[in-house]
């Protein structure tokens, strides 16, 4: 299983719907086991539903600070980021996870923080990929998305996260079938595969087949399964 050797700031970006938000939440929870001072910032100014903010209770319980637009998951569709996002840059004692919005449009919002991140140079910028998403089915189109994001935010990725999955229907075979795809992206970009994210029930089996498996729980709950109001 994956041994976290984190930089001070870890950024997750990728095609929207690649699973960034859920991985970011799981990663922050993993970090909290090693460090006292952990925060997660939701920079998504595009997606109105299924946000980091939906995991607020889990994060609060773990003692992880959530930096998120106060309008997220509300009825206000306002692409505003809170001023406290700058705390990530100003507080060197903090370990931070940044959930960047999907695609180039989402990544645009990261731009204003990039000069400081580059200057400090203690970050991992991770490209989350899912082979089962229709616009990133093949290596060529995945690399297109990657280039668009890099151009939009002015920051280069330095590793890949393979999060290939079919939601609740994901099988071991589905994940195994994504290894070649992930390897080809790695080969074409020269970037290492930092981890393969796998839903917990399947993680042990996948860990026997490949290295650096990151077991994740699904924290983004489907609304028709909610017993009570959030």
């Amino acid at each position: 299983m994956l041994n976290l050797t984190p930089k001070r700031v870890t950024l997750f970006s990728g095609h929207y719907g690649s699973g960034k938000t859920n991985i970011a939440v799981n990663y922050a929870l993993g970090l909290k086991k090693q460090f006292d001072n952990v925060c997660i910032a939701d920079l998504d100014i595009v997606n109105p539903y299924f946000r980091t903010k939906d995991s607020e209770k889990v994060l609060n319980r773990a003692g992880i600070k959530l930096i998120s637009s106060e309008y997220a998951s509300s009825n206000v569709d306002l692409p505003a980021l809170p001023a406290e996002t700058y705390a990530i840059l100003d507080n060197p004692a903090l370990h931070a996870v940044i959930d960047v919005g999907g695609d180039d449009r989402g990544a645009l919002a990261l731009g204003r923080y990039v000069p400081s991140l580059l200057k400090e140079n203690d970050y991992d910028m991770l490209f989350v990929v899912n082979r089962f998403r229709p616009l990133t089915r093949d290596v060529k189109s995945t690399l297109e998305v990657m280039n668009e994001i890099e151009s939009a935010c002015g920051m280069k990725f330095n590793a890949i996260v393979n999060n290939s999955n079919l939601g609740e229907e994901t099988t071991v075979e589905n994940i195994v079938s994504s290894f070649k795809y992930a390897d080809e992206i790695s080969g074409a970009t020269g970037l290492p595969i930092k981890m393969t994210a796998v839903n917990e029930p399947l993680a042990a089996e996948i860990a026997q087949i490949t290295e650096n498996v990151f077991p994740i729980k699904l924290y983004v709950m489907q609304s028709w399964k909610l017993q009570e109001d959030r």
Partner: protein, 355 residues
């Protein structure tokens, strides 16, 4: 079978439209349906289609009318406030007997409302989409696979009956991600001798028009249209049944509300309550016959909806007010919880009986 892909409802709908042969999309961004436009903007240029972000919803629906006049498959999509703006165009499409697909990924209202899911455009879709006597075929998907399947079906029915099909989804259906199969089979094509495709000097001009100044002729147009509607009501109503065989209580719900109800029914069955569900898939035509038949077996109905009881009227009409119809609803962007529906089932079980 081809491998499934993981898609957001809005994207799945857009891809299905392309697979159904739609090469013309006109729209204007609005949450929570923007991904339909975003997907079209990425995909259409690559396949020689047209994506055009119009200057307004009103412009978009009139561009739809233009393309529909030529017999090409065409669509637009929006969310509640944007659909209101399209109302005039919907009436003109009906008056011209043109096939088109219009998508409403509903959000809370009235007015600017909010951006969270809703079903409160039920009346608009099934009764009052615009001025004049007309209907649209209204399809209500309840999972991402149905966003695909019903889009495909919507185009087919539109061509078959020369009228507008509306996909009446809600914000959750648009935003939810689920695995889908995109194997759609053959696209059926229909002769469109009325299309304005150029006479080539071989036939008289085709005229697409909704203006009839002679009342006798306008009346005749309306009568002919309602002949077709009658046939649609008799043959095209779609619904799904869940645990209705021995049911004493019948939940009626569509879209996201049906997903919640399904889970609540499972819970209630564990408690020994005989409850089932009729899930309308077409809201117009409403599956009246199925509900009428159920009314002879069950003691009460529950309408579960994200609106203020709009569907209760259709249930009451379908069952001729033969049994009580309870309402279990949340509005303003809220979704009924499993417990909300479960509690209503328990309430129906208490008070149910002949009225």
């Amino acid at each position: 079978m081809a491998e499934k892909v993981l898609m957001k409802g809005n994207e799945a709908l857009a891809e299905a439209a392309i697979m159904a042969g739609c090469r013309h999309y006109f729209g204007y961004p609005i949450t929570p349906q923007t991904e339909v436009a975003a997907y079209m903007s990425k995909k259409m240029p690559k396949i020689g289609g047209t994506f055009l972000q119009a200057e307004s919803e009103i412009a978009a629906i009139n561009m739809v009318l233009g393309v529909a006049s030529t017999g090409k498959r065409v669509m637009t999509s929006s969310s509640s406030p944007g659909i209101s703006l399209k109302s005039e165009g919907l009436s003109y499409l009906a008056g011209c007997d043109l096939p088109a697909l219009v998508v409403n990924v509903q959000r809370g209202g009235p007015g600017l409302g909010g951006i969270q899911p809703s079903q409160s455009d039920y009346f608009h879709a099934t009764r009052g989409a615009g001025h004049g006597d007309f209907h649209m075929i209204v399809l209500a998907p309840s999972n991402v696979q149905e966003m695909v399947d019903l889009t495909f079906k919507g185009f087919d029915l539109a061509d078959k009956y020369r009228m507008t099909s509306m996909i009446l989804a809600d914000g959750t259906m648009g935003q939810t991600m689920e695995p889908v199969s995109l194997e759609m089979g053959e696209v059926k094509t229909y002769d469109k001798p009325w299309a304005t495709t150029g006479t080539k000097m071989e036939r008289p001009h085709n005229i697409v028009n909704s203006l009839f100044l002679k009342p006798e002729i306008l009346e005749e147009e309306n009568f002919k249209r309602y002949e077709r509607y009658k046939k649609i009501e008799e043959t095209e109503a779609l619904y799904d049944e869940y645990m209705m065989d021995d049911a004493e209580i019948c939940v009626v719900a569509f879209g996201i509300a049906a997903r919640v109800s399904h889970n609540a029914i499972d819970e209630a069955r564990k408690a020994g309550i005989k409850v089932g569900m009729i899930r309308p898939i077409t809201l117009w035509p409403f599956p009246k016959a199925a509900l009428k038949a159920a009314s002879e077996k069950v003691k009460a109905f529950i309408s579960v909806e994200l609106s203020m009881g709009q569907m209760v009227e259709d249930i009451d009409l379908a069952i001729r007010c033969a049994k009580p119809v309870l309402l279990c609803n949340r509005v303003g962007g809220m979704i009924p919880t499993v417990k909300n529906v479960y509690d209503s089932i328990m309430q129906a079980n208490e008070i149910g009986g002949d009225r």
